[in-house]
């Protein structure tokens, strides 16, 4: 062992440490301008692409990837990430300037990602598509930031009312007619509750902000109301349409017609409650229809109504875009464009009973086969996807202000006060830098 070592040990180690730190810091800080892909004639040239998707969207992403890989030279490698950890993984990869070529995102988080420049600007490419005006408008809008388009629709998930036809028949209700107003839904639920046992009239995700947004807001829109302004910077939760809607649900819980256990439902088992066959009617994600059928239930589907009528839906699902750090932009776009083509939309997604993103293809043979799917597709036109940069931290996050506001309104001592106080907190969160 060299005698020089102990003498230089401390200072050299310190120098190396400082150098490593500085290099690493500058490496991370250095803005990696996304490199332009080599201009190749054919974008389908055997490139390997990486696509990340949430576990919640795995089924659809997998179908598209498998079909694409089978018919193209390019190969897409799909990584499925647990839904609850998806944002963490994206953030870490972004922090390391190592995002995959493509990644999907919950549509309501898209403004957050686009405002942080995680996606590549693909305005020109989208506008060059022949069917650009038929792409689900809500999704395109959410993927747009400051006039530029960054993402295309990937999957669609709408909130609708499911009703259990068997329970309806048992309770003396017409099993073929679902409720057309929220008040009527409450009436139906009351009759079903009267069946007794562990049958519940209705259910909701009482401790789940995202569930509340998905299931309750359509009733507000159906009544012509708003939950916030178009820019997502000012909340209007203390407006009359919101109060009316929450008052109905508050009463349902107070009377025990809404499943008492659902008051503490954090989200994971919200859908399972209806799937168990013990709930009469309630808002559910449209993508769970096949699951309900498979569980042996006879399910009717109708759009979510407002307190006195109207129809609307929360147009959810995923968008997908090319990441700002990708080096295979042309190949990545080849996949995106293909995924929106008629072949992919009809023969892959619609055939699998999934909703499609192109409004000009809704009359395809697969979707037309199930009238309930037709019903769902028709509501898209009246549906909304609310826009807010800070959507996640305000509405989905259990520590955000929306959940507390919703629970205060539904279960707290004073609905008006809960909404008045909560509205201010929500606005503050929406505008937080």
């Amino acid at each position: 062992m060299s005698k020089l070592w102990p003498r230089f040990h401390c200072s050299r180690a310190a120098l190396i440490g400082a150098a490593a730190l500085a290099t690493m810091a500058s490496g991370i800080a250095g803005c990696d301008k996304s490199k332009e892909a080599k201009p190749s004639g054919n974008p389908d040239d055997g490139t390997k692409l990486t696509l990340w998707t949430r576990a919640a969207t795995e089924a659809q992403s997998k179908l598209l990837v498998e079909a694409y890989n089978a018919s193209h030279k390019n190969k897409v490698e799909l990584t499925v990430v647990p839904t609850d950890n998806y944002a963490q993984k994206i953030a870490t990869a972004a922090g390391g300037k190592a995002l995959p070529d493509l990644f999907a995102a919950d549509v309501i988080f898209a403004p957050n990602y686009t405002s942080k420049h995680l996606f590549l600007d693909i305005t020109a490419r989208i506008d060059a598509l022949p069917f650009k005006d038929s792409l689900a408008p809500a999704h395109i809008k959410l993927g747009t930031y400051q006039g530029k388009k960054y993402a295309v629709p990937h999957t669609l998930d709408l909130s609708v009312l499911f009703w259990n036809k068997d329970l309806y028949a048992k309770a003396g209700l017409d099993p073929e007619k679902g409720p057309t107003t929220l008040k009527e839904m409450a009436e139906h639920a009351k009759k079903i509750q009267a069946l007794g046992g562990d049958i519940a009239g209705t259910t909701m995700g009482g401790n789940c902000g995202g569930c509340g947004v998905f299931a309750l807001w359509p009733s507000v829109w159906a009544a012509g109301g708003e939950v916030m302004n178009a820019e997502g910077t000012l909340a209007t939760l203390d407006s009359k349409p919101v109060k009316d809607m929450l008052a109905i649900w508050r009463q349902l819980y107070a009377d025990g017609i809404a499943q008492p256990g659902s008051k503490d439902e954090q989200g994971p088992t919200w859908v399972g409650r209806f799937q168990s066959g013990k709930v009469g009617v309630g808002p559910m994600p449209s993508t769970t229809l096949a699951m309900m059928d498979a569980a042996g239930l006879k399910v009717g589907v109708i759009a979510i109504p407002g307190p006195d009528g109207g129809q609307s839906t929360f147009v959810g699902g995923d968008v997908v875009g090319i990441s700002a750090t990708s080096t295979h932009v042309d190949a990545a776009w080849d996949f995106l464009a293909w995924s929106l083509s008629e072949v992919a939309q009809v023969e892959v997604l619609a055939k699998h009973k999934d909703l499609i993103a192109r409004t000009d293809l809704t009359e395809n043979k697969y979707s037309a086969a199930d009238p309930r799917v037709v019903t769902t597709l028709k509501v898209i036109a009246q549906g909304r996807t609310p826009f807010a940069l800070n959507f996640n931290q305000t509405f989905n996050d259990p520590q955000g202000p929306w959940l507390g506001t919703m629970r205060g309104a539904l279960f707290g001592p004073d609905l008006d006060q809960a909404l008045a106080e909560g509205n201010a907190k929500v606005t503050a969160s929406l505008t937080q830098k």
């Binding site: 401390c10 490496g27 993984k89 990869a93 399972g272």
Partner: protein, 276 residues
């Protein structure tokens, strides 16, 4: 009451209490095992008892064997790494005085005091710099790092418990420090080695968040990440049964190793009453 009756009473009381507690502790694992084979609507096992959920687990994604292999590779690498580094380090702390002795020990212990989510982004970047991103080796290195405080502590205590006379006698015979370590001390601290190895295995075998963040290639994911992905389905529908099946598959090797090595690690802690 006669003394023998009182003793019988005490003994029955003891066994009743301890057995009840044992049942309480075993219950969740037993339930997981039962839930993984019982019929549940919407799972892989809808009618009757059977291994349907395990079949789902087997076929998921890249297939159970791939995930198991990844888990094994990572666990083995991190065990070897942890044992080697902590043994050498423990030896150094116990038997030598050198500049930076205390500082290094405190820095090692400080690893326990940092919330692990905080380190994840810098670690991710760092591994990228070292060319180890998305690799099982990189993952094993990070998992090893998190094990070091405990491992170094145990090994240091184990070495300290061995009387120095042993070292001195060997050195008088002309052994170098390395020979002292390998020929004599390693045998004396074997229980400590077993403990460190077992804990390193348990920790890296079952870790979820670190591999989730550091590994993206779907064929390199270890089992816990795959299991959690499997159970998080379309909006709110959770497949619990497959999670239970995953828990069973993950727990069985640990339980097995555990029972086999029991005598080893109990004594491992014991080597040297725990000093500061």
């Amino acid at each position: 009451m006669r003394a023998s009756t009182r003793r019988l009473g005490a003994r029955t009381g003891y066994y009743t209490t301890t057995t009840a507690l044992a049942i309480l502790f075993l219950f969740p694992l037993v339930w997981a095992g039962w839930a993984s084979v019982k019929p549940t609507p919407g799972s892989g096992q809808t009618v009757g008892y059977g291994l349907g959920n395990f079949a789902n687990l087997w076929n998921y994604g890249q297939g159970l064997p791939t995930y198991l292999l990844n888990s094994v590779v990572v666990a083995v690498l991190s065990v070897i790494g942890t044992v080697v580094v902590s043994t050498l380090g423990g030896y150094a702390f116990a038997r030598f005085r050198f500049r930076g002795h205390d500082l290094l020990f405190l820095a090692t212990l400080a690893i326990l005091m940092v919330p692990y989510p905080t380190l994840l982004i810098p670690l991710y970047v760092l591994l990228g710099w070292l060319g180890l991103q998305n690799s099982l080796v990189g993952l094993a290195l990070v998992l090893m790092m998190f094990q070091l405080p405990f491992a170094v502590f145990i090994m240091r205590n184990s070495f300290e418990a061995v009387p120095r006379e042993l070292d001195e006698a060997a050195m008088l015979d002309g052994c170098s420090s390395f020979a002292v370590l390998t020929r004599i001390l390693l045998h004396a601290v074997r229980p400590g080695l077993v403990t460190v190895g077992l804990f390193a295995f348990l920790a890296s075998w079952s870790d979820f968040v670190v591999p989730l963040i550091l590994i993206s290639a779907p064929d390199k994911l270890p089992l816990p990440v795959a299991v959690v992905s499997m159970q998080q389905r379309v909006f709110g529908s959770i497949d619990y049964s497959v999670l239970e099946a995953g828990v069973v598959v993950l727990a069985v090797p640990c339980i097995f190793l555990f029972l086999v090595l029991q005598r080893g690690y109990v004594r491992g802690f014991m080597s040297g009453s725990l000093r500061g």
